[in-house]
């Protein structure tokens, strides 16, 4: 089941125009390399899921790849706005963006339902929040036992989930640790799973806090060391806080954003080249 293939092949084979794609990673292990590859291949009309769309989704949205975004918090963590996301919602640039928004708790429950092959998840919900009124993805239901109202959230079932992990072994098992966020549920909710990894090893050493995704739920493994940058992979790379700060100025201006994407993403073929390109240009540091 799990094949070890180049990232360009995985993205080319598994993600089509209009695909529903979840790229998860809760601050930690965000699959930036895969996001870049989607931009390079010029995918269009994507439906993207992510609890915390951050810089990589700002890039995908600004690059015009995204038709619809399902999310719960869209900002540059610790810095401020995602200007490309805002420009798309506020001004329809470079194209209009449909949004479906949730609370974190609802997004999490929707992934759990998807991973469990249930039509919906259940949370208590928050009475009086306008958010629930603006969403077709949630409905109040009553407990059949005591009539108590709770909130049903329609399951997330993306076509493809993409995550970044520390390691894969030769059989295609995947090992990640540290903050594991929503990765397992996102992985199991999807029809296909692409995992970029820091390292491919013969056998795993057990690591406290590890989560292992067995090979039979993994579709493609792609070796992409540093592939979480500017996010990080615990035990391998550090979060590049400077890049998050620098991104604010880059993304604030349409022209500067387009130059950045053209030069550093469309003009490169891998995360290693992206990092070199940024370092050489002093752009984003």
């Amino acid at each position: 089941m799990a094949k070890i293939i180049p990232l360009s092949e995985a993205v080319g084979d598994l993600i089509g125009d209009g695909s529903a794609v979840a790229m998860e990673g809760f601050t930690h292990l965000i699959p930036h390399a895969a996001g870049h590859e989607i931009i390079r291949q010029g995918k269009r009309d994507l439906i993207l899921y992510r609890m915390t769309p951050d810089v990589i989704y700002d890039q995908l949205i600004g690059a015009g790849a995204v038709a619809k975004l399902v999310f719960s918090w869209g900002g540059n963590p610790g810095v401020g706005s995602l200007h490309r996301l805002r420009d798309a919602v506020e001004n329809g640039w470079p194209r209009p963006l449909e949004i479906v928004e949730h609370t974190h708790a609802a997004m999490a429950a929707a992934y759990v339902a998807g991973a469990s092959d249930l039509p919906f998840g259940v949370i208590r919900g928050v009475h009086g929040s306008d958010l629930h009124e603006h969403s077709k993805a949630v409905r109040w239901i009553e407990s059949p036992f005591d009539g108590e109202r709770v909130l049903a959230v329609v399951a997330h079932r993306p076509d493809v989930t993409v995550i970044h992990a520390q390691r894969a072994d030769g059989d295609g098992n995947v090992q990640l640790w540290g903050i594991v966020g929503i990765q397992k549920e996102a992985a199991l909710a999807a029809n296909s799973l692409i995992v970029t990894v820091e390292e491919i090893v013969d056998r795993f050493d057990a690591v406290p806090g590890e989560m292992v995704l067995p090979h039979h739920v993994v579709t493609a493994i792609c070796h992409a060391p540093g592939g979480a940058h500017p996010s990080y992979a615990q035990g391998y790379t550090q979060r590049d806080n400077g890049f998050y700060t620098a991104w604010d100025a880059i993304s604030r201006d349409r022209n500067r954003f387009e130059e950045w994407i053209t030069h550093h993403v469309r003009g490169t073929t891998s995360i290693a080249e992206v990092l070199d390109s940024i370092a050489n240009a002093g752009d984003g540091e």
Partner: protein, 255 residues
């Protein structure tokens, strides 16, 4: 030592609000600074819980994101995101939640979604994140915001996170279990809900700030408590620990 800035006074006031041993759901920025300051002062057993799933984190410097590696490395337990929201927050295991917002109204309802109409916003804000459930299910909620008329508004553009709804007993009628926002700590003073109407009342002003200053910075006709108190100046110890924490944070993150 240079005098305390308004953000420092605000952070110290928030830190003082935290009792030792409380389980505290912490966001990034001022709340994280306040909670980590409290942990170094009067509340060494404060349990810091971050929505990334880290329970009992003891970071040495302030995290820049709710998913910094140090939060996991120093935690008593790291759990998944579905679990932190279902088993911990929704289940009522959080004593104090911290929130900020772009807009707040007189009943401490919060907007972090849009300025302008939802379908065609003038400003698209980050959205809800964990805030609605933090406000609904925490034992109580502390709000930290800089006091500006465009933030303390007569009418929210969007109710992302209900506080005391339309006031009175609306909150308990809606079935919320927690007490909701109990303090709004700003850079000018502290507002607290009136015990019956649940309208926010100015109860404290920070040193050098007058009640009129706060009224001027509030977009609704702010009521002032009869016995409005002045916030005690940050002590040398409080300020020293806070500044040391910030300095070490800067060194760690930029170094």
């Amino acid at each position: 030592m240079s005098p305390a800035t308004r953000d420092e006074i605000m952070t110290v006031a928030a830190a003082r609000s935290l009792r030792d041993g409380a389980r505290c759901f912490v966001g990034i920025g001022l709340p994280s600074a306040a909670a980590n300051l409290a942990r170094r002062l009067h509340a060494p057993n404060l349990v810091l819980i971050y929505e990334s799933g880290t329970i009992g984190s003891k970071p040495d410097v302030l995290p820049l994101s709710i998913g910094d590696g140090e939060l996991a490395e120093t935690a008593d337990a790291v759990v998944s995101v579905p679990e932190i929201f279902a088993y911990w927050l929704q289940a009522g295991r959080i004593d104090v939640g911290f929130l900020g917002a772009a807009q707040i109204d007189r009943h401490a309802n919060l907007n972090t979604t849009v300025i302008g109409p939802y379908a065609s916003p003038r400003v698209r804000l980050p959205g809800a994140g964990g805030a609605p459930e933090i406000a609904a299910f925490s034992g109580e909620v502390l709000v930290m915001m800089r006091h500006r008329p465009e933030a303390f508004v007569q009418q929210l553009d969007f109710v992302t996170t209900p506080g005391h709804l339309e006031g009175g007993d609306a909150r308990s009628r809606a079935g919320f279990k927690g007490r909701g926002p109990t303090r709004v700590i700003t850079d000018l003073g502290v507002l607290e809900p009136h015990p019956e109407s649940r309208e926010l009342i100015l109860t404290n002003v920070h040193p050098g700030v007058s009640a009129d200053d706060v009224r001027d910075a509030t977009g609704w006709r702010l009521k002032v408590a009869d016995d409005v108190a002045e916030t005690e100046e940050p002590t040398v110890q409080e300020l020293g620990v806070l500044r040391d924490l910030r300095e070490r944070t800067e060194r760690a993150h930029l170094g």
